[in-house]
Each structure stands twice: as C-alpha cells, then as structure tokens.
C-alpha cells in the first residue's frame, strides 16, 4: 500500500463529510484546538488528533449501542498480555508515573498535616511540670497514613514488571486500534491518513484498515499473495470482505455473540476478553455452512471427522509461520524495532492445545509464532521465566480456505503422510518442551481407500 502524501492524509472531503451527521458537529467538539485562528500552529494548539483513542470521551457518548468502550481486543490488546502472562511475565498494577502521581497527591493533601508537637501531644494544665500526654487517636490516624504510603509503595512495579511494561509500550502497543483507526483513517503503523476524506465509514476498508494491520499473515493468505498458493475461496469466488464474516458485533462487544441467545443472568461471560480464540468461534464455519456434519450431510468425510478435525485441517493450505522475534531500541535512531529470524510457508497438523466445548477438535493446524524465550532480553533477563508452558506452534485458523487441498484429495493423502504432521523431528530442540502438548507422537495410519469418491 503506497503511503499517502502529507496533505492527502488530512484533506477533508467537504461535501461528503458535511452530508454525514458527524459533519453537523463543530470540529472542536471532538478535536479541541483553537477554532478562531487561521494560523496552523495556534489553531492546532491543544488539538487532539485522534479523539477516538478514548472512545468513552467522544464516540461512546452517542454510540453507546456498540458499547466499544475500549473492551474489544483491538483496543485492549489483552491477547498479548494473556500470552505473555502464560509465559511468566506480569504487568504492573500501575505504571511508574501513576505511582509518583499518587505519592504527590498524598503528600500534598494528606501527608502535610503534621506541623507541630501539639498535633500529637498535649500538656495538661495544672499538672506536674513536664507532663506530656499523647493524643492516641491522632497518632493512630497518622500511623494509618504511613500505612497508606506503604500501600502506595507496594503498588510500585517490580523491576521485571517495569521492564515488560516499557517493552509493551514501545513495541506491542503500536497495534492498538482506536475507533478512528478502523472507521476514519488508516492505522498509524502504515502511516495514517484519512481513507475517505474524514468521512466516518460504517464499514472499514478491507485493504486500508483490516489488512493494513493483519497483512503479513491473514491478508497475504486471504488475497492470494503467496506465489502458487491461491487466495481464500471466499475471496476468489465470492469476493467476500472481512466484515462478511467478522461482524461489527464481534468487533465491538466481545460478549455479544453469546448474549444473542443467553442472558447475563445465566452467568455467560464475555467471550473474547482474554484472547481471540477464547469462547465461542466468531465466526465458526458452521455459521454459514450449517449443513456441514449435520445428519443430512452427504459428505462422508464430514460425518467421519466432525468434532475430531478442525475444518482447516482438510481445507487450508500452506500458510506463513515465523521464527524468533527480538525487539530493541535502535542505537542509531532511538526508535523501537523488531527482527524476526525468518518467515516461511508451512502446513502442519498437530494436537489441539486447548480442546474445549467450542473447539473440541483433536487435531488442528498449527502456526509457528515469532516467539522466543529471549525475545525481550534488551529490556531484562529472563522476562519470560515460564516460556516452556505455552507452545510456540499455536492453534491457528489460516485464511486460505479451499474446497480441494493436497491433503484432502484422498484418505491417504493425509493418513500416513508424515510430511504434514508436526512430529518432534520438525520442532527445534530448544522448543520441544514448550510444544509437548501439540506434537504428534504417532501419525494416523493409512486406511483403505473407498472404492467410490464422495
């Protein structure tokens, strides 16, 4: 995607924008700034370039029905922290600036009352000279203030937490998406800029919004950008856009899918708050293909493998995996950057690392993610102390679905085909322990081919 010129990024399409209900609002209602000035510097004084970064301040005041309020994974990036915490990292309850602010507030408003001896002591009249009594209640109260200080100090992040917090802010948080990153502008990590002249688009642009971030894996697979590997059938044959499957309800409210049928009184928790594969599949293939594996499905393979194989095991093809990512701050420019050791196309079937009600499959396809135990060594040593508790070959849903694939041509294109199963010999020795739960010990044996194809 070619970057926009600086003027293109901020050129408003007057007619289209003013025809939109948002065009009826004064610019300053969302952006602040000085509307009385025609000088760029003063007009932009105090301006908020992306007011939707805090949706509860602007967007949610009208769009309460979408209830984004920062709870979606695009906003919280909770999926990253879920993985990092499973590998032993932890995030601080409060960052360093918050602690200093708390201490300053305490010292200004609470801790400045101790001004003289009489605060805690009093000298009873008509008593023997030198008699000094203690105001016990006042002392207790002042001691409790000391405890408050200790409490605040206890909130201070441990060095490892502070290191991870800094790393996250420098690198991971660049993937944070505001309302405007989907509905007004291209995301900052591809240079930003209005997509349609500041028109607030109900439907994001697939290429300028969705795959602008989800490009190197999902975008390339779906659009067929890998040589000799066709794009996803949903795109090739039906020209389906991302939102045809991933609805606004899924994007805005992680619990909305469950609550379409269940009530909160039933104790249904929001599904995708921890990571995108938590809870119900949104969407599942059966959402649009309900006949698959149903009693009236005439495809014997569907009936045989239903609930044992994820759909992608038979219907996806080679997809991108990446090895070892390391992040640093550049000595030369002072900017954060990352390096991955390599990316390559592969297709491996492995055990389902998290078999559950919504994903009961025994076998799934696995993608190697660019994780390594020393990925964050620039920020501190051993920041992922339990790295081996989580696989580096992870549950995946490649977006290159085909009706016919190399592994579903015949039964034995898969059964007995060691090339497509993640066996221990295909895993780096230093990662075998982490991937114990997904490595296939014994590949399915060959079977007798049916005499007639389905």
């Amino acid at each position: 995607m070619a970057p926009l010129e600086p003027w293109q990024k901020v050129l408003v399409n007057r007619d289209d924008f003013l025809a939109d209900p948002h065009g009826e609002l004064a610019c300053t209602m969302c952006h602040g700034g000085d509307t009385t000035s025609n000088n760029k510097e003063t007009a932009h004084s105090g301006m908020i370039a992306d007011p939707s970064a805090l949706p509860q301040r602007v967007c949610d005041s009208c769009h309460y029905e979408t209830a984004m309020t920062g709870s979606g994974l695009h906003s919280t990036l909770a999926g990253y922290w879920t993985t990092l915490e499973e590998r032993g990292a932890s995030q601080p309850e409060h960052d360093a600036a918050r602690i200093e602010n708390l201490l300053a507030t305490y010292n200004k408003h609470c801790g400045s009352c101790h001004t003289n001896c009489q605060d805690c002591h009093y000298f009873p009249p008509n008593s023997e000279e030198g008699t000094v009594l203690v105001k016990e209640d006042v002392v207790d109260e002042k001691l409790s203030r000391v405890d408050h200080l200790a409490e605040i100090e206890a909130m201070r992040a441990a060095p490892d937490q502070e290191a991870m917090h800094t790393m996250f802010g420098n690198h991971c948080s660049t993937c944070h998406a505001s309302c405007g990153d989907c509905h007004i502008s291209q995301p900052n990590n591809v240079g930003g800029g209005f997509v349609q002249g500041h028109v607030i688009m109900k439907t994001p642009s697939m290429t300028q919004n969705c795959t602008a971030c989800h490009g190197s894996r999902v975008g390339s697979e779906y659009l067929g950008k890998h040589e000799e590997i066709p794009g996803d059938a949903h795109f090739r044959l039906e020209r389906m856009n991302c939102i045809d499957c991933h609805t606004g309800a899924e994007m805005h409210s992680p619990g909305s899918v469950c609550t379409q049928c269940h009530t909160e009184d039933e104790g249904i928790e929001k599904t995708q708050e921890a990571h995108r594969y938590a809870g119900e599949q949104t969407p599942s293939c059966e959402s649009c293909h309900p006949e698959m594996g149903a009693w009236n499905d005439t495809n014997q393979n569907h009936l045989l493998h239903k609930d044992t194989l994820a759909c992608q095991v038979c219907h996806s093809v080679s997809y991108t995996s990446c090895d070892g990512c390391h992040v640093e701050i550049s000595d030369k420019t002072g900017n954060p950057f990352y390096e991955t050791e390599g990316d390559y196309l592969s297709f491996f079937i492995g055990k389902n690392p998290d078999s559950n009600y919504h994903r009961p499959y025994e076998y799934v396809v696995l993608r190697h993610v660019p994780a390594s135990a020393d990925a964050y060594s620039f920020y501190g040593q051993n920041l992922l102390p339990t790295f081996d508790l989580k696989p580096t070959w992870v549950y995946s849903t490649p977006h290159n679905i085909q009706k016919e694939t190399p592994q579903n041509k015949t039964c034995n294109a898969c059964h007995g085909n060691a090339d497509i199963f993640l066996t221990v010999d295909k895993v780096k020795p230093e990662e075998v322990q982490a991937n114990q739960d997904v490595i296939i010990d014994q590949i399915p044996a060959q079977v007798e081919e049916p005499t007639t194809s389905q």
């Binding site: 600086p6 003027w7 901020v10 050129l11 408003v12 399409n13 007057r14 009826e24 609002l25 004064a26 610019c27 300053t28 952006h31 700034g33 509307t35 009385t36 000035s37 025609n38 760029k40 007009a43 500041h198 190197s216 894996r217 991108t320 990446c322 990512c325 550049s330 030369k332 420019t333 900017n335 950057f337 990352y338 390096e339 991955t340 050791e341 390599g342 990316d343 660019p370």
Partner: protein, 77 residues
C-alpha cells in the same frame, strides 16, 4: 352642532385607541428559530478548520516536511 359632533368623534376615537392592544413588533422578533442560530454557530465554528482542510494547496503549503524514518524492523511483523 357640527363642531360638537366632530369633538365627540375625536374623543371617542381617542378613547378607543387607548383601549387598543399593544403593537406587535415583539412577535416578529421572536420568529427567528433557535435551530437557525445553532446551525449558524456550528458552521462558523467549523469555518477555519474546514477552510484549511478542504484546501489542497494550503495543506501542501503548510505541511511540515515529513522525516523519512529509516525502516529498521526486518521480517514479518
């Protein structure tokens, strides 16, 4: 007699005019609807912002030169 009749008419007219309702210019003043004022206000507030942001040449003239940041990351992100 005639002058007496004229005087009587003048007095009657004077008395009737004193009972007449007040003139209605205030009703005309209040005809300006509140919405119109609000719209005018919003458009004038947007004026300076829009005046610049719909003007391609002005945006080109006032744009800060973009610093080309050397891409240091390597591999799939």
């Amino acid at each position: 007699m005639k002058s007496k009749l004229v005087s009587t008419l003048v007095v009657i007219v004077f008395i009737l005019s004193a009972c007449a309702p007040a003139a209605t210019p205030s009703a005309i003043v209040t005809e300006s609807p509140a919405e119109t004022e609000a719209v005018v206000e919003l458009q004038s507030e947007a004026g300076e912002c829009l005046a610049c942001h719909i003007d391609k040449q002005r945006l080109i003239d006032t744009a800060k030169p973009e610093v080309v940041v050397e891409k240091e990351s390597t591999g799939a992100g």
